[in-house]
Symmetry: C2
Subunit: 406 residues, 2 copies
Amino acid sequence: MSTSFNRRKFLQTSALAGASMLWSSKLHADQLTDRLSSEIGKSKWELDSPALLLDLDKLDHNLKAVSIPLAGTGVGVRPHVKTHKCPAIAKMQVDAGAVGVCAAKLSESEVMLENGIANVLMTGVNVTLPKIAKAMELRKKFPGFIQAVDNPQNAQDLQDAAKAAGIIADVVVDIDVIRRSGVPTGEPALALAQLVDKLPNLRFRGILAYDGGVQHVKGFEARKTRAHKTFEPVVATYERMKASGLNMEIFSGGGTGTYDMMHTIPGFTDVQVGSYVFMDCQYLEIGGAKNESLFDDFEASLTVLTTIVNNNYPNRLVTDSGSKSFTLNKPTGWVVGEPDFVYNAGSDEYGTISYEKSNKSYKVGDKLEVIVPHCDPVVNLYDVMYGIRNDKVERILPILARGKSQ
Amino acid sequence: MSTSFNRRKFLQTSALAGASMLWSSKLHADQLTDRLSSEIGKSKWELDSPALLLDLDKLDHNLKAVSIPLAGTGVGVRPHVKTHKCPAIAKMQVDAGAVGVCAAKLSESEVMLENGIANVLMTGVNVTLPKIAKAMELRKKFPGFIQAVDNPQNAQDLQDAAKAAGIIADVVVDIDVIRRSGVPTGEPALALAQLVDKLPNLRFRGILAYDGGVQHVKGFEARKTRAHKTFEPVVATYERMKASGLNMEIFSGGGTGTYDMMHTIPGFTDVQVGSYVFMDCQYLEIGGAKNESLFDDFEASLTVLTTIVNNNYPNRLVTDSGSKSFTLNKPTGWVVGEPDFVYNAGSDEYGTISYEKSNKSYKVGDKLEVIVPHCDPVVNLYDVMYGIRNDKVERILPILARGKSQ
């Protein structure tokens, strides 16, 4: 066990952490909304591009739709804010019945907590002493902040920092599913949970286990089969923890691809859905329980607005949205209303559309909406989303945790 | 010719443009530097990660090195700020002798002009009326702003907007090289240049022609051969323009991959080098005039600082820097000091390193520096670069044009 993290060290590191906590994202939000207030009421087609558009009716649909298959199952929704990085959307998710939200990183958690989101479960681990100290400062200020841990040394470091901060910190153990984060299932996971439970300044709240690999498996039944198969050692570990008398109030995991199948996992408490609010081509292609060819439980609410800047060559259009305002993720984006268009964002500043047939002819200056291949990294490029209703800008949604990868 | 853009329309659109111009990036810069001032003097290894580190000695080397092969050729350097999006670095480039800078987008140009960079050539075209109106407002305020045009309708729109703004706007014609932007070579280009030259509120300054395809051709001689071959129709067009009596004071193009060969193109005036300030794996791999296997004219000054968060499996490390703080561009990143490491940033939040051998063993919490595959999109994810000298933070460099893709 580490004894290196004493009060003296904590005070040094928390002083450093404190400096960057002085930064308030609220000021930034006010600047963004003030600057763009003149855009309210405009047609979306008048907006300067590239811009990120969010259809609010479709968003509203998605916020409700996610709970439908879960009704009566006892499984809740704990949306992952890494997708939208926007406290305003997190608030809508909480208002729609979420048990809390997940965040991937500490800086992202901080933005949510500072902007009125009371319950944040951070799914990533903090492993450096300054970051752990900062996490404990955050926990001191916001009791609804839950941290993950995935190795014994880290548990001890969290204990020392919590003690130094004079708090009892809420902790979940992250269970390894895809060899990325987490403690291996079985004995190591059980031992770690018992260690956390025993440490006086940590409060063991349960486990999380995220299977990133299954989310995009095509076909509902294939996905369900794999989700259960991959989760077998996690469930066995859960059962051992429960049998040993540990508090298993949280057993969190799953995602948009498995949101309607995780309630069949014993002990499972809540799904960490992220992309369901926006949808993207990757998820649309996996198929759902009701429609095997298109996953249409949720509507594609998010698009990139782009402008055609060059049409010199037949069957080819050049736009103003390349990888800096789109993403290199595959498949290519879907151009709304033009199913034959193939959108290539491989260039930094320009998009290139190639097609065999189009529903209309396009001239320079015309605008298009494109559904993105993978929503999370695209949102992370923009300062705001334009909230659109009936094709008009209704509100500005600042993406306050944009770039918060720390 | 368009007659739709009259004064009434211009006044409407410039009122809208004015609203977003009120936003000052200076305030944002002050906030960023104030917030991070406590980091000055720290060891780079103490910084929270992911973070973008810029080695200032290497940067200084690059700022000077770019001019060495150009000495006595008459060809100048017009660095492209799309790479760094940082007025402080643009200023260093100007201080090092640049004839001006290039910017890709209008919002990027605005940030540079507003932050003291006097001469900005915007290489992209503005094609919507509000954007053209805003561009003319910018030109009215900053006489060193030069705009590109690549079709006759656009030239007429620029004319109308310049007239409405009461100015004579400086314009270059963008010549098509890679079927992306620009007017086709030969007659269309000549006719467009003559049109611009004739329009009373536009001042024809010359041409630009960017060959994006040749920049990453491996091997100096192969690259040079292709650069000349591809440029043949551009040069022929240039000669026709010159013979027709047009003002050819600007013939701009090239990039980091061709910076030391473009002076052999007749009439060529300046190279639009971007990546040379930072370098990246894509450019390091192309080989240079002096070293066929490594393009070492410039030093790799830019790295992503990342922290190891999981080491549960042999020959595998998981870090805190995935695609949201790195890039999906290929090849994979190069881990400084560990030539055998393969860095995979395919996951949004996590990087994964696989290796057969390493020079030391790594524990959770250890930090690594990674040279990125392609620098431009990575810089566009961060708010600041940490300027490092002798491994210590010397200054904070705000990336004020981050996200300025409009």
